[in-house]
Amino acid sequence: MNDTGIGASVRRKEDFRFLTGQGTYTDDINRPGQTYGYILRSPVAHAKINGIDLAEAKAAPGVVAIFTGDDMQVGSIPCGWGVNNKDGSPMNEPPHPALAQGKVRHVGDQVAIVIAESYAEARAAAELIDVDYEELPAVADLATALDQSTLVHDEAPGNLCYDWEIGEEAQVNAIFESAHHVTSMDIVNNRLVPNAMEPRAAIGEYDSATGEYTLYTTSQNPHVIRLLMGAFVLQIPEHKLRVVAPDVGGGFGSKIFHYAEEAIVTWAAQKVRRPIKWRAERSESFLSDAHGRDHVTKAELALDQDGKFIGLRCYTKANMGAYLSTFSTCVPTYLHATLLAGVYTTPAIYCNVKAVFTNTVPVDAYRGAGRPEATYLLERLVDRAARETGMSQSEIRRKNFIPEDAFPYQTPVALQYDSGNYTATLDRAEELADVAGFQARRSEAASRGKLRGLGYSTYVEACGIAPSAVVGSLGARAGLFESANIRVHPTGSVTVYTGSHSHGQGHETTFAQLVSDSLGIPIENVDISHGDTNKVAFGMGTYGSRSLAVGGEAIMKALDKVITKSKKIAAHVLEADSADIEFKDGKFTVAGTDREMAFGDVALTAYVPHNFPHDELEPGLEEQAFYDPMNFTYPAGCHICEVEIDPDTGVVEVVAMTAMDDVGRVINPMIVEGQIHGGLAQGIGQALMEGARYDDDGQLLTGSYMDYCMPRADDLPDFKVGTTTTLCTHNSLGVKGCGEVGAIGSPPAVINAVVDALWDQGVRDIAMPATPNAVWNALNGAKTAMAAE
């Protein structure tokens, strides 16, 4: 390994610009002649629009134009994934207009855009718009939405988007009939607001000379936006539409989706013939960024007399919000139900998912997308089952783990895990967490009046999303491959064009390490370019922990091609057969001789091809590869959380958080650790602090940082993280993905620890977020109940 190659904790190449304030985020870009857009949003959750009076606003100072849904008659914002009902019929897919068409369906729904010379003028003018809303009852509550007579969409009777299933219900029911023990729980996965620190922004621009449009946007996947917006919403052909996603300040899923504002500014720029910049205020982020999670599930686990899991059945209601966001439909199905085997050998699984419309902000993928929900319900069930059957947390898991020698392992819910060693990971986690010393720590805490609890979570997830053939058969309306282009310049420096997109993951470093390692050139000589559809051939972007496993593999494939061609060039110059050329440490050598040629010389020769045999060798050194994986990758791990609870106040303190994750081969340990830390912070945030709440009228109660509780520096413990490694068997790097594991594994570990601490006080369950108020109420409720007995 060289010191900038695979496995080295290389300092990040992107840090210099971020630390000196020289990053270029969308809102940092200003275009000549730029105007400013302000989006007027619905203040009510559900209403008919009887009229919009623009007269006063149009006359306000600085106003360039105002457009409403009447003006913007374009295609519907598409959903990227069709899910069929259990009877095979397609899901209900009501239209999703960029600007409201006669009706608003959630607080924050877009009603009009005001374009003015300054942002302040646009905003001031918007306040003069008089919208005549005829308010309708709101469907705000997920649990009861299916039974309400009010319809979010007339096209979706019963507010049902789809009623989907996986597995054989009758077969699973039969197993439950004969089970030795059944553990049942009602489980809620709380609704979250992703809250990337950079608010969404978009700049639309139209060049009337060429007919070309440009959209700068805060996106995790500019090519996907180009496809969705260009082909479906605005009917702009790809060669006339450039989408640029420059530095992006965090996404966590929320910047995957195609949002209305992107289409609105692009469309309107052509009307006003000037660039339009729009940037969300934080309150708009709360009201218009897709939210995450929001499931309610009835879940049951059947065990035999040996404590082995023999069946699992789940009935989930998943909130879609008011419209179907890009990937919303696949999250509770293909990213959730297919993970319900977890790390266990459960032979029979049934899951029914009803996707539900409500008058709330659309819900879509948020860090982990579906896998945290699956892990949470499974690990809560397993924890409870252990308590009910008298097994330890460790024992019940070990007994049911898929054994190391069973890989590749076909689960009953479609996935085939390629590799893993769950027992080894659990062993290492228990060691690092010092589980053996827990009882002593618990007694010590008790002497201080504190309740101490220990919670486990052993998870597997499917990422590296994903094989196009598989996702296509499951309803994805796109392929999920990745592209890479390696351009070797005449002096041997390299630019890599990748379809992945970095918004915090450090691709510019990790990917450069791959190139440095493969070509044996200094990392300074490698630049990674991403985020511009005019530079990068194509790309599916970054989400589902796919950048390295898919995007990185595409780079490896292109590097292979570069090396193959370089060998031909070296063979030509060194007058040898290319089969005899060996490449190592940046040098091409004729096997068994000391005749060699440095990579830089090969590059130069490629561009100065004075005596190339033209029929055999083209000039230049640039290669393109597309990589489509054969399977998902399956990171797995064990998170162990230790909490202390003050019974007088209900305050939960996470005193230790251990994460042992198997993410396959690690290219940059420092970056991997950073990803895991970030995921854990969000997982602990979900478990203890965060929760989006709506009132009965569909008003978001938690619409600012004052009211939505984001973890701050003093809310989190020091993390103990480690990795174990089993290599992915179907990609050359052996990598699996690390971006989401922290957020997937940790919430149940935290809640199981809380329940462990409270169990002897009679508390059996607690919902997320386990705030002091919730814990205190649970403790006192249990006390009262015990007293009554």
């Binding site: 990337a196 620190m197 934080r282 309150s283 004052m706 973890p711 520096a713």
Partner: protein
């Protein structure tokens, strides 16, 4: 009088003759200067992405404070140095120790929060020695990061001290001091733009005069409330009078049994002094907003805004604070308590301003406690905030004052409860009886921060907590779950 504003920026004096008085520093940087290193994450003072550092000459030496540029108005920069993230690396590109430490610990991921963190850390690095972990938490409490989980940033906040003192920066500082000395003057600063006028007097008499002449003006102290009126509520403030330059209002002194706190004293400046006399009040101040908010916000503003949920009025009222109001040449002094007439209504006449808050020094043997109940330790608005001041002599309650915020339309005393305690034995029975009286004092609201029942119960229980903490002296009581737990035992 001086027209326009002058401040030091990028090593030079910047002169701006006309400026919109409520243009935020953040908007100016990003939209006028094209300096986009400073980020906007919320424009509400909550996230710290916009953190910049203000350098100011105080008694001849430089003082550096991190503030939220999103709610700081441009003209308030007059006479100060504005330092942004672009200023830290040396011209040859060498990173500042703060930045270096952040690279080494991997303290940045997406980079969006990074400039704000760097500036908060920088302000600490140039102002104080190696911090405790608690101190780091205080300094970073006003900065949100969604990517890193904070660990690496905390580590960098320690590691940056390994680089030693700020030699290059201190060298440059000499030059800046000279520039700032050149800007210092007692003249009133005035500017106007877009029909909005701005006055920043340097002397209190000038303030009195200009406010009498412009009684419709909005007074701005730290702008941690007023800033949001502009960024969030989109209000047009018209004429603005800024208190931040008024010398007399920035003074604090002990005189005839009172700690006199000028209305322009920031929380940060008041903190140490108040802590000396009322340790628990000090702890309360630590929990107001964040470092950035405390560096700008004032106790005067917290009182004058009349809010029922301001954190300092209950403590001040319980301690028996007095308020000095001034209009033109006339001054009057009232009990702070009587200042709060009703929700949204205070005893403050047209053209009258708060000049000073007078906090009586505690009598020997008296007991004081203040408790803030909110969902988080820092950067959160109280659901309820209570303060207690008791004179207990030989186990008898000689006097007690109880005041709560968040329980009524104004900060309000619990007179029935007090009456049930005064003259009685300070024991559990008395306290329990008094707790039951509290229903007569308060009729709290249910809102999203807390329910009526929760508020009522918490207020009762805080009295009990006060009793436990003050009656079991010498014993280790376990009544504090956050912050400095030892304060339960003072």
């Amino acid at each position: 009088m001086s027209e326009g504003i002058r401040f030091v920026f990028r090593g030079e004096v910047r002169e701006i003759d006309k400026i919109d008085p409520t243009l935020s520093v953040l908007r100016w940087l990003r939209e006028v200067e094209g300096a986009s290193g400073t980020k906007e994450g919320c424009a509400e003072g909550d996230c710290g992405a916009c953190t910049v550092v203000l350098g100011e000459l105080v008694d001849g030496s430089m003082q550096y404070r991190a503030v939220n540029a999103c709610i700081q108005f441009m003209p308030t920069l007059h006479g100060k140095q504005l330092i942004t993230v672009e200023d830290l690396a040396s011209p040859d590109g060498a990173l500042h120790p703060v930045q270096k430490a952040m690279v080494e610990t991997s303290g940045s991921q997406c980079g969006f929060c990074t400039p704000g963190f760097v500036m908060s850390m920088f302000a600490m690095k140039v102002s104080e020695g190696r911090p405790s972990r608690d101190r780091i938490n205080d300094v970073l409490a006003g900065n949100l990061c969604r990517c890193t989980g904070y660990g690496p940033i905390i580590e960098a906040s320690e590691k940056m001290y390994d680089a030693g003192p700020e030699t290059a920066f201190l060298e440059e500082e000499k030059r800046v001091v000279a520039l700032l000395e050149g800007l210092s003057s007692d003249a009133m600063v005035e500017t106007a733009d877009k029909g909005r006028r701005y006055f920043a007097p340097a002397r209190v008499d000038d303030l009195a005069r200009v406010y009498t002449d412009n009684p419709d003006a909005v007074i701005v102290a730290g702008a941690t409330d007023v800033g949001l009126w502009v960024t969030k509520m989109h209000k047009d403030l018209g004429t603005v009078i800024y208190l931040g330059r008024v010398k007399e209002l920035k003074e604090m002194r002990v005189a005839s049994g009172y700690l006199e706190i000028g209305a322009g004293v920031s929380y940060t400046d008041a903190w140490d002094e108040i802590k000396k006399h009322y340790p628990d009040f000090g702890e309360l101040i630590r929990r107001i907003g964040s470092t950035q908010v405390r560096n700008a916000g004032t106790i005067g503003g917290n009182v004058a805004n009349g809010s029922p949920i301001g954190d300092t009025p209950p403590a001040l009222i319980a301690a028996g604070a007095r308020l000095v109001l001034r209009k033109g040449e006339e001054r009057r002094e009232i009990d702070l308590e009587s200042f709060f007439i009703d929700y949204g209504k205070q005893d403050r006449g047209i053209g009258e301003f708060v000049e000073m808050v007078k906090l009586p020094l505690p009598k020997a043997g008296s007991k004081f406690r203040s408790y803030k109940i909110s969902k988080r330790f820092d950067q959160d608005i109280s659901a309820a905030c209570g303060a207690f001041m008791a004179d207990i002599e030989k186990g008898q309650v000689k006097d007690i004052r109880i005041c709560f915020g968040g329980m009524a339309g104004t900060p309000a005393r619990a007179k029935h409860t007090e009456a049930a305690l005064i003259g009685k034995t300070w024991d559990e029975e008395t306290v329990k009886t008094a707790m039951a009286e509290m229903v007569k004092d308060y009729n709290p609201l249910t809102d999203m921060r807390a329910s009526e029942a929760y508020r009522a119960k918490v207020a009762r229980n805080l009295l009990y907590k006060f009793f436990v903490e003050t009656s079991q002296v010498g014993e280790k009581v376990n009544t504090r779950v956050v912050g400095d737990r030892e304060l339960a035992h003072v």
